[in-house]
Amino acid sequence: MEPSRGLSAPPGRALGAPIAGLALLAAGVVALPQLTRDSYYLDVATTILMNLALTMSLRLQVSTGQLNMAHISFMGIGAYASALLVTRVGISFWAALPIAAVVAALLAFPIGGLALRVTGPYYFLITFAFSEVVRLFFNNFFVDLFGGPSGLVGIPKPSALPWFGRALTFTTKLELYTLMAALLLVTAAVLVRLEHSRFGLVASAIRQGDLLAETLGVNVFRYKLTAYVVGSLVAGVAGAFFAHSHQVLHSSDFGLEPMVLLVVFTVIGGTGSVWGPVAGTVLMTIAGELLRELHHYESLVFGVVLILTMLWAPDGLVALPGKLARRRRVGVSLAP
């Protein structure tokens, strides 16, 4: 599946813009707890940060021209791996976190390697098939280990860390928020750096035409696989955090519905820029929380918003300001 090509060249090749963006993100993340200590707001903010790690890494894969519907599975693999390492093997969360991420990345090699042999809608559907296999696996196989349809409960929160003679604990909403914020800022820095490196340039070339990039001597497959594995590593980290902050795991947390939401966040924000998923995730999550009490009207409103946004802003929300500035007619071109 191809992303829209409208605003494909990453804006601002110079390092100024990305650093400013990262600084803005960091400032927002640091400012929030100063503004509110409300447990609900912190909880939603933590979910947003976790989803940001997922959508930014998903966008890295989309930037090479492919929509990976199994992204959420690697979050699930990280989550189950970390939960089992802590509860069954007995190692600390801090050891389990990197191991879980590496497990997700290692599994991404064969799965990504196989899936990337096909392209377009076939890639989309084969990754969907993989994600269902992984979900059904957690739900139906090795029930004693993965908890089967009952899921895993009683997963401990991250253990305390020694810090200059003090113990840093991670039990309150604020502490969990801080942990996820730190994980996200590192992730974002790496992803933004990658976007503005040779990798980002090549990815953009690949997106605009595999064949062209191939004839220019780029090993397209290797680039795509790298994006797949790096993205899965990030998803694994997010999964480990999810397991220990929520303390309850169920296979449906890694099924089609949450995956579809990640795609919505990413595409509504815009896949042309590394900041698109940030805009999409933040805005859509807040809107979702505001609309929660509407029950099934929520999906009615959300559905209409999705349709209108894609018709009026086909390149996503981040492309809108530039588009309006250029005073071009806001319309939709029929050309592919």
């Binding site: 609900y40 939603v44 009952s150 929520h246 169920h250 929380e289 099934h296």
Partner: protein
């Protein structure tokens, strides 16, 4: 037309609420916010919708009667209900919103096993009283003192039900149980199989299907090959249970039929058809149209039908009753403090739409947090639901 009516309802309801508060509220009345959670959209929506409606009926009843008098104060009830789409992670977020944003101290109603576990990670540390209809065994326990199950579960129903089957229908020897493949399904089949073995039945099949399945021919072919005398669509929801019975009949099954954790008898009859549903016994159900139920239940059923245009199943009644019991306990405790209400709840029996109700279950769960009331076994006869026997859950016998 109903769309337009529904949209109008959405616009008018808040307006009416505002006007109502101004006109009738009076300055001295306080507001008591009560949370309700559940899947309100998607495949499991029927559970959540019944939970919300049951709670709405009770809340309106209280408000129309002038509010809830607790000690010296009178409270108007305000319901806050959220959809979690049957997803555990979403349920935790919704529970956070109820507890920390809406500041509710009571969450009355939630369904789908894994979401209850997720909600409990939020409610237990905050001492929020949480009542639910989830059937997961691990949803009750000494480590979860603020959690209640307000409906009989498989652990209360399966044993007395099959004891009754053994007594009244001794020719039934081999029983097959089929449930959806999730927490409630697994736990229900486990309880059924345990009861069957304890009572000397043979277990012909212990099978699970993925929720949302419509074509049961493959699984039924396998089950019927094991020649069961009785087919128990244990934890299947009404729609899927109806399809199983219909297709079993098509495949030539003529034995007895049971529905241990039955929810809505009218839907199962509708979907299965009169012939295929003939003779289904269900011990966990309630038949709001029956002559045997109390006048309150019949009135509830009639009002519910008038208001929502659907016949209520056991989940709507259970949540209505739970709301009733919890508000009674508040009045008893003369306080809204959850620990005091908790003490009042477990102290003595309550008179409810179920009849006399006690909160027990320590033998099974290690803590008294399960609503216990008599089990009424009903049978489908010629497309109608007829109550034929009353038995007591083991825990209630003493």
């Amino acid at each position: 037309m109903r769309i337009r009516a529904s949209i109008a309802a959405v616009v008018i309801a808040p307006l009416a609420a505002v006007v109502g508060t101004v006109v009738m509220g009076g300055a001295q009345d306080k507001t008591l916010s009560i949370g309700v959670l559940g899947p309100l959209s998607g495949g499991a929506a029927s559970y959540g919708v019944e939970l919300v409606r049951g709670a709405e009926m009770k809340a309106d009843e209280i408000n129309k009667a002038g509010g809830l008098k607790v000690g010296a104060d009178t409270y108007r009830i305000k319901l806050v209900s959220y959809d979690h789409k049957a997803l555990a992670a979403d349920a935790a977020t919704a529970a956070n919103k109820l507890v920390f944003q809406d500041k509710v101290k009571y969450i009355i109603g939630n369904a789908v096993g894994a979401t209850c576990n997720a909600v409990q990670t939020v409610t237990e540390p905050e001492k929020v009283l949480f009542s639910f209809v989830c059937w997961g065994t691990n949803n009750l326990g000494p480590d979860k003192p603020h959690s209640f199950r307000v409906m009989l579960s498989q652990w209360e129903v399966a044993e007395p039900f099959y004891r009754w089957v053994k007594e009244k229908h001794p020719q039934i020897k081999r029983v097959a149980a089929i449930s959806p493949n999730d927490t409630s399904g697994k736990d229900t089949n486990t309880a059924v199989v345990k009861a069957l073995k304890a009572l000397g039945f043979e277990v012909a099949a212990d099978e699970y299907y993925e929720r949302g399945t419509k074509d049961f021919y493959p699984i039924l072919t396998k089950i019927l090959a094991a020649k069961p005398d009785m087919l128990d669509v244990a934890a299947a929801p009404a729609g899927e249970g109806g399809l199983i019975l219909k297709q079993a009949r098509e495949l030539g099954f003529k034995g007895a039929k049971g529905w241990t954790a039955g929810t809505n008898p009218f839907t199962i009859i509708g979907v299965a058809g009169k012939d295929a549903a003939e003779g289904v016994w269900s011990p966990a159900n309630i038949n709001v149209r029956s002559d045997f139920v109390s006048a309150t239940v019949r009135r509830f059923g009639a009002e519910y039908e008038k208001r929502y245009n659907e016949v209520p199943g056991v989940i709507a009644v259970a949540n209505y009753a739970a709301f009733d019991v919890i508000t009674k306990a508040m009045q008893e405790a003369r306080s809204l403090d959850t620990d005091k209400v908790l003490a009042a709840l477990t102290q003595k029996p309550f008179e409810t739409v179920w009849g006399r109700l006690v909160i027990g279950g320590k033998e099974t769960y290690g803590i008294d947090r399960q609503f216990l009331y008599p089990v009424v076994i009903s049978e489908v006869r010629d497309g109608k639901v007829v109550d034929i026997a009353q038995v007591l859950p083991t825990a209630l016998k003493k």
